[in-house]
Symmetry: C2
């Protein structure tokens, strides 16, 4: 029996303290992979926190240029080991080597790291405000060690040691304690290795990047609420996230969560009359891409009753049947998706397609469900059960008033979209729906599926609870994402030579 992989604490790869272990699986075969990973005890967390605290005291004093050099070096290191990374990630996630991993996600990841480097250099995230007459100067400053819990669906771009939260935390001068996602520990280990090399090469404190693979639930809650922690970034399931949130909230520790989202898409009749095939195709591609495993997957569609809507449903059903079901990321995803579809059916949704046999790997047939507006409104909460994966629930509203009621019952979501006739035939309906949808989503789209999340300063990848934990922050888009991991520092009557250089008079 091989020994478990080492954790990275205080710059040292060493054996974890703790007796439990786990293995990831190859989703395409359902078989466990070879490497064994440790479940860390509190002793590891405690050591990582101590090391992170020391690292923070140095990091927060460094000029942004030093952080930027590390981020750039790390991005270059990832590119150098691209083939290896893509292979490991493919084994652990079954995501296609190309284009997905090699040509889309990896460049996105290095692009994010380099944007973070730019943000660290220019310091625009700090929003400095100087009132020289009053002797007051305020800006955002590093907050403290950041715990990052990455999701299963983006092993690179949202990875706990490489993704958006990681890049934002480091650019803001905070060390990261990465908790690997259990479905791709090997990918995270490899990324942490590359990061640790860049840390050493650039002379940053050794504990700038640390890695644990897994902890017990109680230790996870203790970690995010520890006095040595600055904040936590979490992307994952709602149930686990809410437990961490409760622990962090009770300790007054900021925690930024991305929990779940069904991403409502309203398709108005004029748009269907105008471009049915195009809509059916756009939706199918968006919903089944990556086997639907995106936080912005269009999981809920609202239509108005009528022959146009009927034809659109039929057209999508046909496409769902024709498209081979993809592989899911883990047995857990398969189980949750199966349970969610069953829940929807048990409460009255009709499974229009999705009862076919499964493949050899973790999978679920492409599932399209429909339900009447009335039925939805009788039980709006259960009808918003997130079916994470290749499934979508289409709600057929009797009329515009009922559609408005449906939108009024929506929980907070990352995105919301309205498709309408290009020449204005749906504009009256749009105007009655948009204000309701607008307050319930972070990003409002027109005539475009929500799955693309551009890395842009004008992006908002956030939204009202329970999509995230706070409606005023975004997880994607620099420099704004950095401000999650920052605190306001005001200097009042502080002697000029004692001010941080960026706040001095020029």
């Amino acid at each position: 029996m091989s020994s478990p992989q080492p954790v990275l604490i205080g710059g040292q790869w060493r054996a974890a303290r703790g007796s439990e272990t786990f293995r990831a699986s190859n989703p395409a075969t359902r078989e466990p992979l070879a490497d064994l990973y440790p479940v860390s005890s509190w002793e590891d967390c405690d050591a990582a926190l101590d090391a992170a605290q020391s690292a923070f005291e140095q990091l927060r004093e460094l000029p942004g240029e030093r952080l930027a050099e590390f981020l750039d070096s790390y991005a270059a290191g990832i590119e150098q080991r691209k083939a290896e990374l893509v292979e490991v990630a493919h084994q652990e996630t079954a995501l296609p080597r190309a284009p997905r991993l090699a040509d889309v996600e990896l460049p996105r990841t290095t692009g994010q790291l380099r944007q973070a480097a730019t943000a660290a250099r220019d310091g625009s995230w700090r929003l400095a405000v100087v009132d020289a007459a009053a002797g007051l100067r305020t800006w955002f400053a590093p907050l403290g060690p950041v715990c990052v819990f990455g999701p299963n669906n983006f092993p690179f771009a949202f990875g706990s040691a490489s993704g958006g939260d990681f890049a934002a935390a480091i650019a803001g001068g905070n060390p990261v304690i990465a908790k690997a996602n259990s479905s791709h520990p090997g990918t995270t280990r490899l990324l942490a290795e590359i990061a640790a090399e860049a840390v050493a090469a650039r002379g940053l404190p050794a504990a700038t990047v640390q890695l644990l693979y897994r902890t017990g639930h109680a230790d996870g809650e203790r970690l995010v609420s520890d006095p040595r922690v600055g904040a936590t970034g979490y992307t994952g399931s709602r149930s686990a996230g809410l437990k961490l949130k409760a622990a962090a909230d009770a300790a007054g520790k900021p925690i930024y969560l991305e929990l779940s989202s069904v991403n409502p898409v309203v398709i108005l009749p004029g748009a269907i009359e105008e471009r049915l095939d195009q809509l059916a195709n756009e939706f199918t591609v968006s919903c089944l891409m990556g086997t639907g495993q995106f936080c912005t997957n269009p999981g809920l569609v609202v239509l108005l009753k009528g022959t146009a809507s009927d034809r659109l449903v039929e057209s999508v059903v046909e496409r769902f049947r024709e498209t081979p079901a993809g592989t899911l990321l883990s047995e857990g995803v398969e189980r949750s998706l199966t349970a969610a579809v069953e829940t929807l059916v048990r409460h009255g949704a009709e499974l229009r397609t999705g009862d076919a046999r499964r493949g050899a790997g973790f999978s679920h047939p492409n599932a399209l469900l429909t339900v009447s507006g009335q039925r939805f409104l009788e039980q709006p909460e259960v009808m918003q059960t997130e079916a994470f994966g290749n499934a979508s629930l289409w709600v057929i509203a009797d009329n515009l008033d009922q559609a408005r009621q449906i939108l009024r019952h929506l929980e907070g979501n990352l995105t919301g979209c309205i498709y309408s006739h290009s020449a204005g035939d749906d504009d009256l309906a749009y105007d009655r729906l948009e204000p309701i949808l607008r307050q319930r989503v972070g990003r409002l789209l027109n005539d475009k599926m929500p799955t693309g999340v551009a890395v842009s300063p004008a992006m908002n990848h956030g939204g009202p609870f329970p999509a995230t934990g706070h409606p005023g922050f975004t997880a994607v888009g620099l420099p704004a994402a950095i401000r999650r991991f920052a605190m306001l520092h005001c200097y009042d009557n502080v002697r000029p030579h004692r001010l941080p250089p960026g706040l001095r008079d020029h």
Copy 2:
């Protein structure tokens, strides 16, 4: 028996639903005042929430100019009824009519309202980001009805229907449900009357400003976690605040709290050698002003052992004895302060002065306590018990290392200050203490007592938990304070004519 004063719901002054009532007291005489106020049942909260939600749907669509006109009108209305306001507030708080209420706090309040009007007009709080090439536009937008729980110590400037939270919420396009502080309900009622007149005169939705006087604890928790609420601003005791925080957090509703702060002040030996009398005087004025009832009162002083420090203590003790004790705001403040001083003494602090007889009103003798650094470090939590009022604990550290340890054990505070020799004799000590203090406070001062909170865009009236609920927000200083009551709205591929005017291409 007179009937209870009416509440303001949906633009109507009407009898509260609920059977309980209360009276405020005149702190100078300890006698109850004449007016009877109702404790609202949930029925009132529910009606206010419904009305606020409707008002919000209109408010959030209004141009900032309309909100600004209201804020300006309200400020003018306050000035017109200044004499009446000062008299009512004086009766309820015993704060001096002049200069405090008439010449300091009232102008500060109208100044804040007018700054909020300017911020509403210019929209700079929205931090618009446009990426035209990507079709993405993001800015901060109104969040929803805001509940404001105001504190006892600033009946105007932090009042729930007139203060900083109120002004920020309205400037951001959110209606306010004001919960009056029970120690000055009449002042709040009068302010809400003036506000309601300005609302009507300016044609804003009637429920833009609503007023309840008090609710049961359970209803308060239900209020801040209600789906119709956008966020809550709370300033008050830590125990009540933490209960509201737990309820709001569990519902995923933002809540901004200002809870408690001892505002550590480090006075280094060189500064004492240089200007002992000046320091003793500055401290005494700051600590006893307003009978010490400021959130930024210097409640904890750290000194280094030595004859200079001994002389400073003696000098302050003398001044404390010579200064007549002021009146406290309420029986509750008197009770808490007495209990806090007793707690500190019971745990080993020495009461150097403060055992004198009391006056006719709510009061406590000016209390100066000292404790050794070692004793402090044996029980740092209890030694940070906030003694809200005219009291301060002075910790005498054995040496610089022990002073560092003391700072390391500090909870989050609004402010932290270091006094040092003007020509640099204390600079080595400063450099070793400042990094520790910096991370534990929102505002760092040099050679200046923390009690003045300038209304400036560069102010940070915030700090790490438990001083506030989140270290990245300020309750004073526009436009930043508005962003507490905002959510990020992103527009992705939205047709140009459907964009808010402020996000369109110009």
